[in-house]
């Protein structure tokens, strides 16, 4: 069983607000799910090779694509808080 402190720590890392009730349920559910994951411990590690996991990267040419101004405007319009065609963000520091 994972602790409630751990649940709240993970929630903070995930930028999630949990109510008291949600945190209690999450502790129970998460513990059951992580318990189920323990089935993977049954696999002999000698069977596991990592070499084949290396993937090739796919790249494209670094070229600017032309889009109408309305496209950028459509994207900015989705922001909850905006001003003069810019998205407003609270100060970070």
């Amino acid at each position: 069983m994972i602790s409630k402190e751990e649940v709240l720590h993970i929630a903070k890392l995930a930028r999630l607000e949990l109510t008291e009730k949600e945190a209690v349920k999450m502790q129970k559910d998460l513990s059951a799910i992580l318990d189920y994951f323990n089935v993977l411990k049954k696999i002999k590690s000698s069977k596991l090779k990592l070499e084949s996991l290396k993937k090739e990267n796919t790249t494209r040419k670094d070229e600017a694509s032309e889009n109408p101004a309305s496209f950028a405007n459509n994207l900015v319009q989705q922001a909850p808080d905006k001003k003069d065609g810019y998205i407003k963000v609270k100060s970070i520091l």
């Binding site: 993970i10 929630a11 607000e17 799910i33 189920y36 696999i43 596991l48 996991l53 909850p80």
Partner: protein, 487 residues
């Protein structure tokens, strides 16, 4: 009076018949001018308005768009002799795929008012093909679930039994096709989300090979698993839609150079693998006998049945839920209350993130973000995420070895038919178990078809036909041959 009654009777019969048509039959009807696209589109819109109070498949009906598209399709049909097979054909779209100017909610409160600023590549292709979009259909929030009960907006019911779930996550897609509210639908399949609802609703569903269809403009769940695919009434219809939506897209780096090639497939001498791990404890006995019956019929038609083993199967579900939640927790970081979607007012930037996400995400999405964040965090990464990736490699190797011996693999889609609404909502793990036969295919980047194979009472059961990478032509061909025998 009598004459009028007879006419009315025929009109009603005509409408019902129109709603039963497949893509191929509609195409023929449009060619012969039996009806116009506008007529058929209106018939479907009426059908949705009449039946959706009970079914609850649609989140939004895009009537204006549909009628405009149908009008344009009728122009094309009038002027061009050889119009495409999807021209004028009405469909529904899972609400995780962007249709420009229409809402796209992913069935989440966090995107409740999000309007798509552009078309997904698959939508661009459907529009170019002259398809008519009737509306956006329900799903589990952010495509996480197995019953469509995780939608923030409504519960969709199984058209075969309104007390049961349609499956998930593309439950709205499957229900809309099964209830004659669309000729076909586009869904997405991350761990079984096309095949399982297709199985539960008695329709055909194609999970496509990873990379065969562009995901540009599709709300991301888990990027190494997600694929778009069709839900249709027949295997032939699935082929028609797949041909239109597949292919390389410069906007999706994971899409592959691929073109569908038609091949003649017969069951005679076809090598069908049957994995013993998919017929063990936990499989409903009636589902088992339906699948075994289908295998027997294939054998009688000349196929060779070859017992195979996929030994890593028992670890697939755990590996899947580690990988899916890890990738989803990263993908869903974008919902920050700043760029789009729901935003809760707060004093600091950090509190804006925390409160917006807390208020916008539903219980299952939160659970998966938490599980994924845990699996990826320092101290647990090796035991969870890394181990799951290694298991994924073993699963890939299992299938690669199997496909050296067989052409396709037959097994069930789901261990049981559609379950009752509310039956599995209290315990997340019991819901995850519904995915046990579908997730290995996603982990191995493979294509698979769900084909109606029989019924337990009134509940449909799907046969899963798994193929090797980019062998959709094979599994669709086998599907076409099989559906002639089992329906």
């Amino acid at each position: 009076m009598f004459k009028k009654l007879i006419r009315k009777h025929f009109v009603i019969k005509g409408i019902i018949a129109m709603l039963d048509l497949t893509i191929t039959q509609i195409h023929e009807g449009l060619k012969k001018k039996d009806f116009s696209s506008t007529e058929i589109t209106k018939t479907y819109l009426d059908s949705i308005k009449k039946t959706d109070k009970n079914i609850g498949a649609y989140l939004a009906i895009t009537e204006k768009l549909a009628l405009a598209q149908a009008g344009r399709a009728d122009e094309i049909i009038k002027n061009e002799k050889n119009f495409g097979p999807l021209t004028g054909v009405p469909c529904s779209i899972k609400d995780v795929i962007l249709v420009e100017g229409e809402k796209c909610t992913a069935a989440s409160k966090i995107l409740e008012n999000y309007v798509a600023p552009y078309d997904a590549t698959v939508i661009k292709k459907l529009k170019k093909a002259g398809t008519v979009i009737l509306g956006k259909v329900n799903m589990d929030e952010f495509a996480m679930g197995s019953s469509t009960e995780n939608s923030a907006f409504k519960v969709t019911k199984n058209p075969h039994d309104l007390t049961r779930v349609p499956g998930g996550t593309s439950g709205g897609s499957a229900a809309s096709v099964a209830a004659n509210q669309a000729v076909f639908s586009l869904g997405t399949d991350t761990g079984g989300s096309i095949r399982q609802p297709a199985s539960f609703c008695g329709v055909v569903g194609l999970r496509t090979t990873y990379g065969s269809v562009s995901r540009y403009g599709v709300v991301a769940d888990a990027s190494s698993l997600d694929q778009v695919g069709p839900i249709t009434k027949t295997a032939e219809d699935a082929k028609i839609v797949f041909k239109v939506i597949s292919g390389k897209d410069p906007m999706d780096a994971t899409s592959a150079e691929y073109e569908f090639k038609e091949t003649e497939i017969t069951l005679k001498d076809l090598k069908i693998g049957v994995p013993k791990e998919y017929f063990t404890k936990g499989l409903d006995s009636e589902v088992k006998s339906i699948i075994e019956n289908a295998i027997e019929k294939a054998e009688k038609a000349g196929a060779k049945i070859i017992p195979i083993s996929l030994p890593t199967s028992q670890f697939a579900l755990a590996a899947y839920y580690i990988i899916q939640t890890s990738e989803a927790s990263a993908n869903l970081a974008r919902y920050d209350g700043i760029r789009y979607g729901l935003s809760e007012k707060a004093d600091t930037l950090l509190q804006t993130y925390i409160k917006s996400r807390g208020a916008g995400f539903g219980a299952e999405v939160k659970r998966r973000i938490m599980t994924g964040t845990y699996s990826l965090s320092i101290g647990y990464y090796d035991a969870y995420y890394k181990k799951a990736q290694q298991v994924r490699e073993l699963i890939k190797q299992d299938f690669a070895a199997a496909f050296k011996k067989v052409d396709v693999i037959f097994c069930p889609v789901s261990p049981f038919p559609a379950f009752k609404i509310g039956e599995n909502t209290a315990d997340p793990l019991s819901m995850y178990l519904a995915d046990i036969y579908t997730v290995p295919i996603n982990l191995a980047y493979l294509p698979a078809l769900s084909l109606p194979a029989g019924k337990v009472g009134k509940l449909p059961v799907g046969l899963q036909i798994i193929g090797n990478h980019f062998e959709e032509n094979k599994i669709l061909g086998v599907g076409e041959a099989m559906e002639k025998m089992i329906q």
